[in-house]
């Protein structure tokens, strides 16, 4: 064995390993898109699903997924922002804060079924919220919170310390330094994290089966009263999302066109998540340029 041959060998192995990852990734995405995209149509996207007959769409599921995401972010983002600012800017280095960090890590690795059942027992049953978007959003907050907190903390910490000192030395209070200088500098990173975690929320199914429910009652998109049961904005109605729809149709669907519905839905889900991921980078860069020079 000589050095040159070892080097070639190592390079070859690394390329092969990367190749396997890429092939699996593209294979999966390609398979889902190829088998799903042909079924997509305007009709599929804009008509309600059907329980028995063929030709159902995913209008309500698509809307539910988006609405659930918005509610989840509304709950989890302020919490995560506060926690992230605390951990990055205020938390002293001691056993208590390292315990908090560990707890956050553990929270992020909890199996989603467990979180779903927990939310089911506590919110759906105990607090009597019932199967609802709100219960789903709370369950998803459990996943989202650790990811977002971590992301916000890292984004804030990666702003150079000199910026903090410069702000403080300018006669700004630490709060104003954080909100006026550190936070704007961290916005692109935070936004990227929000969009990436949104992708995860969008694709989640297991936890939602027990919380947001598996039924999509007929919605009236003209009813803006959030307290009406058929209003599309009512957070207390049960709501089946795209991912849950895929699971349900495959597990217990009795429509004749199961393949069409589930493949089409899967394709929509993948496309939306891909769009989230790609836009995360783009929006992050754009925003950074916007923030760093005013028009």
């Amino acid at each position: 064995m000589n050095a040159k041959r070892n080097d070639h060998l190592a390079t070859g192995i690394i390329y092969a390993l990367v190749g396997i990852v890429v092939i699996i990734l593209f294979g999966l995405i390609g398979y889902i898109l190829v088998s799903g995209v042909p079924h997509l149509s305007w009709h599929f996207l804009t008509s309600p699903s059907k329980s028995f007959a063929a030709g159902g769409g995913i209008r309500d599921q698509l809307f539910n997924s988006v609405y659930l995401l918005v509610l989840t972010l509304l709950i989890s983002f302020p919490l995560a922002l506060g926690a992230g600012i605390y951990l990055s800017e205020y938390a002293p280095d001691n056993w208590l804060t390292s315990l908090m960090r560990t707890a956050i890590e553990v929270l992020s690795s909890l199996p989603s079924v467990v979180v779903g059942l927990f939310a089911y027992l506590v919110f759906v049953i105990q607090f009597q919220i019932g199967f609802s978007i709100l219960a789903g959003a709370i369950a998803l907050t459990f996943f989202n919170l650790p990811l977002l907190t971590r992301n916000i903390e890292t984004s804030l910490s990666s702003v150079p310390n000199l910026q903090r000192e410069a702000g403080i030395a300018l006669g700004l209070s630490s709060w104003k330094t954080i909100t006026g200088i550190i936070l704007p500098a961290a916005v692109p990173g935070i936004l990227t994290g929000v969009i990436l975690s949104a992708g995860r929320v969008f694709g989640e199914a297991a936890a939602l089966i027990y919380t947001a429910g598996q039924s999509a009652p007929a919605l009236n998109y003209a009813n803006w009263n959030i307290f009406d049961t058929n209003s599309f904005l009512n957070p207390f109605r049960p709501a089946e999302t795209l991912a849950v729809h895929i699971w349900k149709v495959n597990a217990e669907g009795i429509v004749p066109d199961i393949d069409v519905v589930s493949n089409g839905t899967a394709a929509v889900l993948i496309i939306v998540i891909l769009a989230f991921n790609l836009s995360a980078r783009y929006v992050g860069n754009r925003l950074y340029r916007r923030l760093t020079s005013s028009k």
Binding site: E165, A166, A169, G171, S173, I181, A185, L291, S293
Partner: protein
């Protein structure tokens, strides 16, 4: 000459380690004082006491007295934020905030609640002129400060401090990260500024100390060895240690 800052018997420790062993030093109004000495001698540490930047470091204890005019800087009821507005600081590295030139210079004022646009524009122009940067940037104040050269960025940092109108400006090796031309421009700027401000600067560059400062204080191993007029320190120092240092025998 009127002293604007007086400090007596200043001792500072990081935990159990004492870094300053009792410093007595005064600074006169509208003068430039240079703090010189070998690395680790405590000159930067001392400088950072003067606007309480050392408060940010955990485990630091400071004893002794600091007075800004009649204000006891370390008294319980002293408003640290207000103190730092009166004693501004420029750092070794240029630290532009990630925003436009105009926003950079006006930021301290803006966040301190002076939103009047005309006032801000006047103050930005005035501060950039004082920092000798106005002519170079007046046509694109909306450009990101990150796009400027290092020397320009450092003058932005100076202009930003000037915009808050402090009485005293602390500078921690303000030219050490810059090329000779930019350094010379900053030095010119300092000589202009001392008409209106009191400047205290740490420098490793002894030529710089002789060119710009009125007074020089020599630190070594956490002690103030000697402080006098710059001419006296460099031509005829009282202590052998000072003589050895400025002639390059150590440090």
């Amino acid at each position: 000459m009127q002293p604007i800052i007086t400090s007596q018997d200043v001792k500072l420790s990081y935990g159990a380690f004492e870094a300053l062993h009792g410093i007595d030093l005064d600074f006169n109004q509208n003068e430039i004082t240079a703090l010189i000495g070998p690395s680790g001698c405590g000159k930067s540490t001392y400088l950072r006491c003067l606007n309480r930047m050392n408060d940010l470091i955990e485990g630091v204890t400071i004893t002794g007295s600091f007075k800004l005019k009649d204000l006891d800087m370390y008294a319980e009821d002293t408003d640290v934020v207000e103190l730092r507005r009166q004693v501004g600081m420029v750092f070794q590295q240029p630290i532009p905030f990630p925003m436009s030139i105009f926003d950079n210079v006006s930021y301290g004022l803006k966040l301190n609640g002076r939103p009047d646009k005309n006032f801000l524009e006047e103050r930005v122009e005035e501060s950039l002129k004082q920092a000798a940067l106005w002519d170079e940037v007046k046509d694109d104040l909306n450009k990101s400060a990150l796009e400027l050269s290092g020397g320009q960025q450092q003058r932005i940092s100076i202009a930003r401090v000037l915009a808050v109108r402090p009485d005293v400006i602390l500078m921690d090796e303000p030219t050490s990260a810059l090329d000779p031309i930019s350094s010379a421009q900053i030095e010119d700027t300092l000589l202009q500024l001392k008409k209106e401000y009191t400047i205290i600067m740490v420098t490793h560059n002894m030529q710089q100390a002789t060119r710009v400062s009125d007074k020089t204080a020599f630190f070594n191993l956490g002690n103030l060895i000697e402080a006098d007029s710059t001419e006296k320190i460099f031509m005829n120092p009282a202590k052998q240690e000072t003589d050895d240092y400025i002639n390059g025998k150590f440090g």
